[in-house]
């Protein structure tokens, strides 16, 4: 009996360390990744990196076009996904009846979340670029990325709406509010922080997406910033990808600077999401 106790305690200890090693592994990799990027990325990084366009001289290459392109595409994508994602989640959680059709729609959305991003690229190429004749424009890129992250945004918005206690809905109804009022004035504001957190995390994924935009044909050297949503564009990850394929080895450092910039952007976005989450999770 005492032996058994010892064994249980030992197992408990061993696994504690195994799990600790596991989680450290993730952190070590992150540290290595950041070290790798920072050590290479800071060599060529200066302020002008942000304000210059790409160049055939690595020391003169800048990310302005990609930065603006990313801002344009993401800036267009955010309102689209926020609106469509939130509205869909509201429909599914607050309006849809519990029937087979609703289940099917929910299953469909869950499935879309698992579809490879490159397939969305094919969809974007086929529908937006070719069929709707938008060309390789900011709009086509933003729409493609919107469709890509939409399932994730919908699912997280659904969770956020589910998290709103029924007591609030009941309180509103008991005051004589109708359904839409209750949703719009009570449920939605309560769920908004979580919805926005989910959106930010989805956006930070979209910022790094490369494959679907390559698929669409956004791989371009541009010396200008987009002036409208029908303009051609490039985005940061594509510029990074492009630099790594250039003959001069110094471009590897330029690419690292680009990665570093992306990483910083990611830090800011995640920090924002975390901030919102903790600020509003305190009840």
């Amino acid at each position: 009996m005492a032996d058994l106790k010892k064994k249980r305690m030992r197992t408990d200890k061993i696994f504690k360390y195994v799990f600790l090693v596991f989680i450290s592994l993730g952190l070590i990799v992150l540290a290595a990744l950041i070290y790798d990027i920072v050590s290479k990325g800071t060599i060529m990084l200066d302020w002008e990196f942000f304000t210059r366009f790409d160049s055939r001289f690595p020391e003169k290459a800048g990310i302005k076009a990609g930065l603006y392109g990313t801002i344009y595409v993401i800036g267009l994508m955010i309102p689209i996904t926020f609106f469509v994602g939130t509205a869909t989640a509201i429909y599914l959680e607050e309006y849809a009846p519990k029937n087979k059709l609703t289940d099917l729609i929910k299953l469909n959305i869950a499935n879309l979340a698992g579809i490879p991003s490159i397939i969305y690229g094919m969809l974007g190429l086929g529908v937006f670029v070719r069929y709707l004749n938008m060309g390789r424009s900011v709009l086509a890129g933003a729409l493609t990325l919107s469709l890509l992250v939409l399932p994730v945004v919908i699912v997280s918005a659904q969770e956020a709406l589910k998290g709103v206690p029924d007591s609030l809905r009941n309180a509103s109804y008991a005051l004589g509010a109708n359904h839409w009022h209750t949703v719009y004035k009570v449920v939605l504001p309560s769920a908004l922080p979580s919805i926005i957190t989910g959106l930010i995390l989805a956006v930070s994924r979209a910022i790094g997406e490369t494959a679907p935009l390559i698929m669409m044909g956004a791989l371009t050297f541009v010396m200008f910033t987009p002036q409208g949503i029908m303009d051609s564009f490039t985005v940061m990850p594509i510029q990074i990808f492009n630099w790594t394929s250039l003959p001069k080895v110094e471009y590897e450092l330029v690419a690292a600077s680009g990665s570093l910039l992306l990483l910083i952007l990611l830090f800011i976005l995640n920090g924002l999401a975390t901030f919102i989450r903790y600020k509003y999770s305190r009840k």
């Binding site: 504690k16 993730g26 499935n111 579809i115 839409w180 790094g208 490369t210 698929m215 990808f241």
Partner: protein
């Protein structure tokens, strides 16, 4: 007399709208328009699915007019581009995809679940609160960056010392990078699933005199199984679909091999290679990517649907 009695009267709107809503609306102000706007936005995701299916099927149709489906699915040589002996056996690409997915899963699943258990059962809440956003950063790192990390760091600095004859482009470093990429997803979603197990069940287990490991392994994990499994499945479908990491680090050589030290090509790797080149619209080569895309789509779709059916069985409903 009471219309509560007739509440379930059938009408076409009851197919799309919960009949309850009607009772929540005043005569004066129905906001009926809103209902339809919401319904319309929901159609976006339905249309997306339809669009994907349409595009993939119509364009692969042209491919399968020229290449028999069976040859495509069972052929063991993939050479759709370089003459003279073109061959369209997709198995090398499927095998490459499987290798990457397998390797990534072997890394991400145990490490991810272990980390999630550590965070919920062992670590202080403060530690967990710090770790979670950090993990989310890992999840957001652009995959191009992971790709170059695999190529310029993992292979030369980590793998080369262990396997001196590893090639520059190889399945191993790519699958490790993919594993790292999906790790945060496994951690984060498994942790959510573990946290969703009612605290009362956890306390019940401790009150029985369980050690932490017993609480975790015998009560928490089984109770959260459906959520944990779905995190695995989502992560696996992400691994199957990952493109840039394999395009950068795994090489571009479609071959049937069991060695992780050699270059391979995955289905996504092939698609992006062709789209980088932008093969002429209308050529057989162009349709090839849609055939591969269709297969990829069907693979992830069936993975999702099968897992959905399995998970339904495991799902526990707590009061």
């Amino acid at each position: 007399m009471s219309d509560l009695k007739n509440k379930n009267k059938k009408s076409w709107t009851s197919l799309f709208f919960d009949p309850k809503i009607r009772y929540m609306n005043s005569k004066k102000n129905k906001n009926g328009l809103v209902n339809y706007i919401l319904l319309l936005t929901t159609l976006v995701s339905v249309i997306t699915t339809v669009g994907i299916i349409l595009i993939l099927f119509t364009d692969s149709f042209h491919f399968f007019e020229q290449v028999p489906v069976l040859d495509f699915l069972t052929g063991i040589k993939w050479n759709p581009l370089i003459e003279p002996d073109l061959s369209y056996g997709v198995l090398p690409l499927v095998a490459g995809t499987m290798m990457i997915t397998l390797g990534a899963a072997v890394i991400a699943i145990p490490v991810g679940l272990g980390s999630a258990i550590y965070l919920t059962e062992y670590a202080s809440t403060r530690f967990s609160k710090i770790i979670k956003p950090i993990m989310e950063i890992l999840a957001g790192v652009p995959t191009v960056v992971y790709g170059y990390f695999a190529l310029t760091f993992i292979t030369p600095n980590v793998l080369k010392p262990i396997f001196p004859n590893i090639q520059t482009f190889n399945a191993l470093s790519a699958s490790i990078a993919v594993g790292i990429m999906i790790l945060p997803m496994v951690i984060s979603l498994s942790e959510d699933a573990l946290n969703a197990v009612p605290e009362s069940i956890r306390q019940g287990a401790y009150a029985m005199g369980s050690t932490r490991f017993e609480v975790a392994s015998k009560v928490m994990v089984p109770s959260a199984l459906s959520g944990i499994l779905s995190s695995f499945i989502l992560a696996i479908s992400r691994a199957i679909g990952e493109t840039m990491i394999v395009a950068v680090a795994a090489g571009m050589r479609p071959q049937l091999t069991s060695s992780f030290l050699k270059p391979i090509q995955t289905m996504t790797g092939f698609i992006v290679q062709i789209s980088l080149g932008d093969t002429p619209v209308g050529s057989l080569q162009y349709y090839t990517i849609f055939a591969v895309g269709l297969l990829l789509f069907l693979m992830t779709l069936s993975l999702n649907i099968i897992s959905h059916l399995i998970l339904k069985k495991y799902r526990e409903v707590y009061q």
